[in-house]
Symmetry: C2
Subunit: 646 residues, 2 copies
């Protein structure tokens, strides 16, 4: 018999007792163990699988296709697909043009920069991205975040416009670098640390903040606070109520907002009419611009766009700060904005990939998004990412591939080249109404309610992020969201659950007695299950918790006059790993029990645990014959002795 | 039948099939759930248990005893115990006096401050602490850490002595505040985040750094680097080799270091002679002082202590910075030094409590240690904590209670009052030799080797901390240790293990096929076990990992022409919890499988999981009849159908 194996018996329904040993996995070489860990951590998706056993020329083509997926799906592209992409592209273009102009304002930039960001980045993405449904361009939340962060550094975005713009490009550049780096070093899993619940809260809070910001344009207020928290904004709004509001603006704003909301409602009620809310914004812009031009309402105090630079993206390579004090600020802002933009894009990509059942390589996506932002930062764009609302429209309009993004970019190109003068009389109130109707969709009551029903801790994270954004600022909301998410992980590994097990009547199955009230305790035996890997962060707690179960049980036994506890069985099935601190805790537990004349028995240790119990010599200390394959075996080993003593 | 229960059958050896349902735990009220979580997190040790059902007067006494344990154990104190404490106290006093003088130098303070810190803090601790074996006073690692951190702020501790000292008291004050706060708010578990492995590495590195620092006194070098990394120090040592070394100093140092090491060896070989290394340092000091006094070797360049202020601790209340720029620096240094000091003291306390089998309340200990440092900072002491070496001597000398600390404090008191002039001719080389021989014990090769054997990741943390301290600085080493420990936790929750299960022949037990090579896969069924709670940080990974198992299995099946996989059983026993992201991932997994015509089956969900599966409606989506009590039941449910198709 292998000295490293432990014997254990288990009865089979129809058979005589049959002996099974607690398996000790074959000793792994250090290097192969290390390699396996690295692979699971960074290359969990096995990106090199298609390259296996391929000739060199084929590998080159595969490599090219890996970096530029367009060479893969482009080969099977046909006219039928193009029809879908053309319609979808035109639809999202009509949606994105008015949104871009408005979002640029959120980032405190001139309107053309929003349009620029809807021209170059989608083109780059179309070549490198692997999502078929995402619609690329500036989005509300990232624009707001970028605007807030930049304004923290440069207080006067209007007076200091050139410097502000340069910092924006710098931040965009480093947002791209961050995204490429995360993708290239396969650190994509880092964005998973922003939990779904935190994102729901953060998005909802950002939507409200953005909507509140629109009150400036919507009510025609000229002096407005630069802070984004609800208290400052409402103070600003009511302080200017007497002489700062412009009724003509309000009339225009309210009527078109109603129109947009009705359009949205129609699209929601009947999926066939998805195009109604999609072209609503463009129609509003055309109608209201025409109306203002006719009535010259701008002379009545209705604020208008006035001017959008004509022509496509100028180069901005020389505007990025590569040294000086702004470099570091740009890097910091870029990292934050880049991560948030990534989170949004990957969430969208995954959602639609799951709906159409195709695979999305998160790390490859990050490289694509990052490259697009790096190129964008050199062509006067600010941070672009995937937009929730436009991607949904894209999907519903029947897009087939990323060609819809190319179509959209072409429309934006034509707009920049020829149509910008037409936006001169567009009232700001319309842009405000368009943004409000767009961001309302980010407030997801249903998701928040579901979170409340499923997990209260998640709900706390969700609300923390929400109120942090609404009452303080976007950064604080983000910080709260991340902190609560981390606290949850730490709590889980610091205070894992433990459970007392009992025998289900007429079976050999042992289960948590709280979950199965019919499960019966075995007299004289306490069975505890530890529900987590035993690590330094929880080893002391687990040891003390087990001893506390024992004290509680002893009290109970004393009161009822049952058999004294003589065996403590620790069920290790959920214990996937143990470290040196955990081994120490087990040995201390063994010694404490020895002093109380209680026998420690272990049941079903996993491969990592049994391996380390042996390596440390604890298995010998506890006794190799005290380690069993199942709880049932362990109980069977105690019972004969107990029966004799009762 | 309860609609919220799910039926499942399980066969018992001797019986007809018997139906057990997957238990749904009784719905907990939100508040009681919240209360239970808070209790397990902060009051895991149930500190109010003794107060239950007690009359008011008794509760007052119990409360007093809880804060001042001396009132508890003092009542059963007797002469026999005092004999043990007296001997132990005298022994540790003889050890601590020369150490204190040396350690004060590590903190860049005058020698008397080391002695002060061995007078007041042990007295306070004796009244408030609950460890019976710990020996309180300045320790090498904390002295070095404090010295390094303080010197980062005030570069010239000699020229700027008054300000440096004030900052030291400020840091000590806030170290105490940190400790009390952690204890009072029951955040003691935070120190568990510094893993055993990290501590071993950190201590070893600190020991080498401290020993290297002693080369200054040991070789009689006058110009010495202020940096602590090995490169700077060795450069300093060799640069002064030609004209900076003093041979008389070296002779004294080497001979007494040999003496101390031999004494240490004797004590280690035979536990009866533990007192040999304990009084070795005092004997060395006496002999060498006498020798220098007789030969006037100080005129030959042998550096001596020269002067130690006579008299007990002066008040330093008015020296603590409560405002100004140094306040914040003091707070920061205090938090770091306080945490490290706590870690050391708690580790010692726990070790000896486990050896004598008494309970130690970590949070109460923190309050005691913190109070002692706060009072200490007002009486010219710097951060004191439990010393590894002196506590071991205390234990071996037969201490019974904290009275040994009082005895030691009394000896220090007498020394301060009357004996300090006698240290005038003590050569610095002796203090260096004493420190070197003391810190050598902190390098624990055996522990490092055991860590290597048990857990390679722990070993990386250990070595990271070690090399960080040796090659860069104490703070960096500490930072590396904490970062690696956190990385390990994050890795665990981001990339949990999954395993393929197989049936152990002639049983109904299903186990990991890697651990049990004899376990056989069931044709047409893939059984995957997820080894972790499913949270936002790993939900995507788990979903994709399971699908990848499926693809691998499909390839295998295609090659060998076996039955196609039709059922995927996910064993949820180790899944102790699931959150909203996890629920989403399960639903996405279900939909992906549906498209591939594979049936998803769940086995043995725990109470939290089954509860949330119901709350979210996923249980209905997957099908309540697809959730089983055991893997065996789940397999049994697939097999009849499979048999028909094969």
């Amino acid at each position: 018999m292998d000295i490293r194996s432990l014997s254990s018996s288990h009865r089979h329904p129809q058979d005589a007792p049959y002996v099974h040993k607690v398996g000790l996995p074959p000793k792994q070489k250090l290097f192969s163990e290390f390699k396996a860990t690295v692979k699971e951590t960074f290359f969990a998706d096995d990106p090199l699988r298609p390259f296996k056993d391929q000739p060199r020329s084929k590998m080159f083509i595969l490599g090219l296709q890996a970096i530029f997926p367009i060479f893969e799906w482009g080969r099977s592209y046909n006219l039928a697909k193009f029809r879908g992409d053309l319609i979808a592209g035109l639809t999202i273009a009509s949606l994105c043009i008015p949104q871009d102009i408005g979002y640029a304002k959120l980032a405190n930039l001139d309107p053309q920069y929003g349009l620029y960001s809807s021209f170059v980045p989608p083109l780059i993405y179309a070549f490198m991205g692997s999502s078929r449904d995402i619609a690329i361009g500036p989005v509300a939340v990232v624009s707001l975040l970028l605007g807030t962060l930049l304004q923290n550094e440069i207080n006067d975005p209007v007076g200091n416009a050139a410097e502000y713009r340069r910092l924006a490009f710098t931040a965009t550049f480093f947002a791209g670098i961050t995204q490429v780096t995360l993708g290239f070093f396969r650190l994509g899993f880092l964005i998973d640390f922003l939990s779904h619940a935190a994102i729901v809260g953060f998005m909802g809070g950002a939507a409200i903040t953005i909507a509140l910001q629109q009150l400036k344009g919507f009510l025609g207020i000229k002096k407005f606070t630069k802070k984004t928290d609800i208290v400052s904004v409402m103070h600003s709004v009511f302080a200017s109520a007497h002489h700062g509001w412009n009724w003509q603006t309000i009339v225009i704003g309210v009527s078109f907002l109603s129109f947009l909301l009705v359009a949205k409602y129609i699209g929601k009620k009947n999926k066939k009419f998805f195009w109604v809310p999609a072209i609503g914004p463009l129609i509003s812009v055309i109608l209201s611009t025409f109306f203002v031009y006719i009535t010259r309402a701008d002379k009545q105090g209705v604020q208008i766009v006035k001017h959008i630079d004509q022509g496509i993206n100028p180069s901005s390579v020389d505007q990025i700060f590569f040294n000086g004090g702004y470099l570091l600020k740009g890097v910091r802002i870029g990292i934050v904005a880049g991560m948030v933009a990534l989170t949004e894009a990957i969430a969208i990509g995954r959602t639609f990939a799951a709906m159409k059942d195709y695979q999305l390589d998160g790390n490859k996506e990050m490289v694509a998004l990052g490259t697009m932002n790096i190129v964008g930062s050199m062509t006067s764009c600010y941070v672009a990412t995937g937009s929730f609302s436009r991607s949904a429209v894209n999907y519903m309009a029947g897009c087939q591939t990323a060609v819809s993004n190319i179509v959209m970019a072409m429309v934006v190109f034509l707009t920049l080249k020829f149509l910008t003068p037409l936006f001169k009389y567009t009232p700001n109130a319309i842009l405000a109404a368009i943004i409000i109707s767009a961001v309302i969709g980010l407030i997801d009551f249903d998701a928040a309610y579901l979170i409340w029903k499923i997990d209260k801790f998640d709900f706390v994270a969700c609300m923390g992020a929400f109120f942090g954004v609404v009452f303080v600022s976007v950064e604080i909301g983000l910080l709260i969201a991340v902190s609560i998410s981390f606290a949850k992980i730490l709590l889980q590994v610091t205070r894992p659950r433990t459970a007392i097990l009992g025998n289900l009547p007429r079976t050999t199955v042992y289960r948590n007695i709280l979950q199965y009230p019919e499960a019966a305790k075995v007299p004289g035996v306490l069975i505890v299950r530890v529900d987590s890997a035993i690590y330094f962060s929880n080893s002391n707690y687990i040891k003390e918790r087990i001893l506390r179960w024992l004290i509680d049980e002893d009290e109970l036994v004393n009161k009822s006059g049952q058999t004294k506890i003589q065996f403590l069985i620790v069920e290790l099935s959920p214990v996937t790993d143990i470290d040196t601190s955990g081994i120490h805790a087990m040995e201390e537990l063994f010694r404490s029990l020895q002093k109380r004349e209680i026998q420690l028995i272990l049941a079903n240790p996993g491969p990592a645990v049994i391996d380390k119990l042996h390596a440390s010599g604890s298995a010998q200390l506890i006794g190799e014959d005290k380690i069993f394959l199942t709880v049932a075996d362990a109980v069977a080993s105690c019972c004969p002795k107990l029966v004799g003593e009762v």
